[in-house]
């Protein structure tokens, strides 16, 4: 009699401890996933309208602080996006939690892109080719401006002369101007800001 009461008590206690160890609603599954095309702070995700989670450097993944239990409904939404993002979309963000569904979540952002224009001055020779890294543009003799490929906001750009025109030498100025260097005219390199009118200047002589 005594021993059976004791045994029941021990079992009940063990059960209670076991349950509480599981965390009264905080479950054993981490809500996490990959993040694509995020380059700076500002992406905040929510689950079921709460548990705000910041996506931080190196901006490749997220993980919610609160865990969920199997069969809990999760619904991941975007609360705010980085300043250089056009939009961020959650993929497979709404389901009942199990080992399969929690492995399928990701967030993909689209970064804003802006025009980069090269203003061409005094070009008289043929054959000028200007590049921004892998973006190559042939410049016709009568061109006044050249539209380079769009550049992600926050990304670097550096316009250079790949090939000089016949009989002339062209140099690139503009881009970032160092305020600490009097007379700095820039070298055609900078970081793409939020504006649509970023230009560099290609000046040819003689």
């Amino acid at each position: 009699m005594k021993s059976s009461i004791l045994r029941a008590g021990v079992v009940a206690l063990a059960c209670a401890l076991g349950l509480s160890a599981c965390g009264g609603g905080s479950g054993d599954l981490y809500l996490s996933g990959a993040v694509y095309n995020v380059t700076k702070d500002g992406l905040v995700l929510q689950n079921n309208g709460g548990d705000d989670t910041n996506v931080v450097s190196p901006y490749t993944a997220f993980q919610f602080g609160n865990r969920v239990s199997t069969d809990d409904q999760f619904n991941i939404t975007v609360k705010s996006i980085p300043s250089n993002a056009k939009e961020c979309v959650v993929n497979n963000g709404k389901a009942r939690a199990n080992y399969y569904t929690i492995g399928q979540i990701s967030v993909t952002c689209t970064i804003k892109q802006h025009a980069l224009t090269a203003v061409i001055k005094n070009l008289t020779g043929s054959g000028l080719v200007i590049i921004n890294g892998a973006d190559r543009q042939n410049v016709s003799v009568d061109a006044k401006t050249v539209q380079m490929a769009m550049v992600n906001e926050g990304a670097a750009y550096g316009v250079t002369v790949l090939q000089q025109p016949t009989g002339q030498t062209c140099t690139v100025t503009g881009g970032y101007i160092d305020p600490n260097k009097p007379g700095d005219v820039g070298n055609g390199t900078g970081t793409m800001g939020p504006d649509e009118n970023t230009t560099v200047t290609v000046t040819c002589t003689p």
Binding site: L116, G133, A134, Y157, G158, Q163, N187, T189
Partner: protein
Amino acid sequence: MKFSLARPAFALAITLTLASCGGGGKATFPINVTVSGLQYPGLVLSTNGQDLTVNPPATTGQDVVLTFPNQIEYGQTYEVTPKDATITNHTYTGGSQPKHQNCAPTLFPAYGTAGQLAKIDIRYACAILAYPLTGTVNGLKGTGLVLANGSTAGTIGVNPVLDTNNTPTGAAVTFAMNPVPYNTTYGVTVLTQPTNPTQTCTVTGGANGTGGGTMDDAAENNKGVTNLVVTCQ
């Protein structure tokens, strides 16, 4: 008498039925191949003693769908590799790859046994080879130097060499930009000049002498562009 005639006829019927199951030939399987991303000629795939030359599609970006000339029989094993490739645990190196590209199996294994799956469907994906873009920074004493190669190839920071007292020595530092794909231009520029002390760095070298060029055949034969020089004063 009647019976004795019927019996041989029955035996003949059985023989015919068996023949239609076996002697007429086992089920055979075509080896289908889909190659994506192919841009240059030279790819030859090989399996079961057969070669299949894969030419680039008429329209860049389209998949090339081909079938090996001869089908294989149920139970025969196959392994589709670039011709004469070295095979190590079903990964293939070398062999008849296209120019400027490397192709490898994707999605599914390129080996198996005919009949294992309803259909033999081999997938290869080809990527353009990329080559190193490297050089040396001379005279760097300040901190914060950042080099860029346009907008899509990333940036790298370069730190000065320090002596045991943490004083910058200005000694040469090597750097490596992200590799550049074949037939792609590169133009290395100084995104951020070093400060403390303030320095001005300029880029020379590359194919055009000012840090630019194209990763062309000459650069490919040279295993990349390694002659960039950034001079800081």
